[in-house]
Amino acid sequence: MGEKILMKGNEAIAEAAIKAGCRYFFGYPITPQNALPEYMSRRLPEVGGVFLQAESEVAASNMVYGAAGAGARVLTSSSSPGISLKMEGISYIAGAELPAVIVNMMRGGPGLGGIQPSQSDYFQATKGGGHGDYRLVVLAPSSVQEAVDLTMEAFEIADRYRNPVMIVGDGIIGQMMEPVEFKKEIDPADLPKKDWATDGAKGREKNVINSLFLDPRELEKHNLKLKAKYDKMKEKEVRYETYKMDDAELVIVAYGTTARIALSAIELAREKGIKVGLIRPISLFPFPEKIIAEAAGKVNSFLVVEMSAGQMVEDVRLAVNGKKEVYFYGRTGGMVPSPEEIVEEIVKIGGAIK
């Protein structure tokens, strides 16, 4: 370890899962994330794990439910239309409080959409997606190294809260190659035993993995228990990065691939004398609302840049709470914004400030 190797995002995430002690993968092919299951199909048998190509995403997510309930660290990956199908299982996993990690390499939608990079599943990932009052922890890496680190962390968070965690990327994060380092390796045998898991009721009361509560009082109690968990996540699991915020007059809020592009736009804007900074949410849920609210007291305006028609911008507006103007620039359908386009927007807003 400590050695840097050049890896594709999709494969790096797969290897990171293995290094995190994950030995089970259930999935279904869909572009642009196929390199991930393909890697797992080669690697998992080498480490005594199981790769299973399911008959559908619906089945795959329910296999994840089974494996997670049986006590294992388990991964599934897909892209937007496939994630929609997995929502059945994800809602049950959240309802039954099981830990699992789901990767969504987002592509353009709605419907079959396209296969190019997109961030149009923000609502689906952060606001539920499936039915019922639940949340996923949603992590959005903007580099392959960060994808590795967050994947490993995702398994810890999932176990800590007994809650599914979603990693969201796109075809760019999934397919680009960058040098990565795996900082640790966990042997699944060393992981703490899950006393709630189903592995045969030997010398103990039986365990039940369930999300059914027919008595509304019981279901409300369950929902409040889940909410307390989500509140704790909001307290403890917020992750973000800031860049050149000290003197910023305008702040870009962007995540994942778009945040990388924003960095170039910030340099170009600063060359023109416009002081621009960046807040990059790394956890999309819990959303880094405090840092944004704080920034609202200092900067003149916000520009939210997304590869969507405007989804995260709603959370930014809630955090800013009317204190400053929040502008939006988005490209959709698989179109990727260029730094120059973003600078153009910045210049327009700069005009509006004066």
Partner: protein
């Protein structure tokens, strides 16, 4: 005095919520007796479906899952792959297994997933109030086939045991009934075999159990088991469809 018929250890004390005369209770007891007799109670993990037997996880005194509608074989697959040394079974009705869950059961069988499925076929949706099932008989009246099932518009009774027995991954497939003691005895034998097949690692095993739904058939229980014998058995022939040595 020696106990001839008692209460299986693998059932909890909780009384079943099933309607009077519903033969789910018989099938639950048979499964529990088989688990007891094979001495696998502490090794067994069950998966309950959505439908009348949704609460099966409260009745079997083994580790249990409650699955989403039709996905029990996928859930069982996840469990079995993590614990290949444990015994995993699903308990599913006809709406669950033969309608919404057809993809999951066919592929679990085709993969030769080493699980046991108890498939309860009562030719109707019970929990939701008596709608037509894929297994509803031709001409049978239900709340969504009020003039009787018409094959022109609603197709034919689906024959799951026949379908699954042609797949190379299935190791044991049988159809049994619980309408009288003789058939109950045969049903238990088949259920036991279906668990033994799993213990021996031979592949996928399924027992389709023809079952009565007095409430939604609109019959007294005694009349319902007779109707089952007279009408369901001719449509769904009993027997072992597949047994891999």
């Amino acid at each position: 005095m020696k106990l001839v018929a008692g209460y299986p250890d693998s059932l909890t004390e909780k009384p079943f919520h099933y309607c009077p005369g519903c033969t789910h209770g018989i099938i639950h007891r048979l499964v529990a007796e088989v688990i007891d007799e094979l001495g696998i109670r502490e090794e067994t993990i069950g998966v309950a479906p959505v439908g009348c037997s949704v609460l099966a996880y409260e009745y079997f005194d083994v580790d249990m899952f409650e699955a989403s509608h039709g996905r029990a074989p996928a859930v069982a697959t996840g469990v079995k792959r993590v614990h290949p040394d444990k015994i995993v079974f699903t308990y599913q009705g006809d709406g669950d297994l033969a309608s919404i869950g057809t993809a999951e059961i066919i592929h679990a069988a085709n993969r030769g997933e080493k699980i046991t499925t108890i498939f309860v076929n009562n030719a109707i949706y019970g929990m939701t109030g008596g709608q037509m099932a894929p297994t509803t008989l031709v001409g049978q009246k239900t709340t969504t086939s009020p003039f009787g099932r018409d094959t022109n518009t609603a197709g034919h009774p689906i024959k799951i045991s026949e379908m699954l027995s042609v797949l190379d991954g299935s190791a044991y497939i049988a159809r049994v009934s619980v309408h009288d003691p003789k058939h109950i005895r045969q049903a238990k034998k088949a259920i036991k075999k279906a668990f033994q097949v799993q213990i021996e690692g031979k592949g996928f095993a399924l027992v389709e159990v023809l079952s009565a739904c007095p409430t939604n058939w609109g019959m007294a229980p005694v009349e319902a088991v007779k109707w089952l014998a007279d009408n369901m058995v001719p449509t769904y022939p009993l027997g072992e469809f597949k047994e891999v040595e």
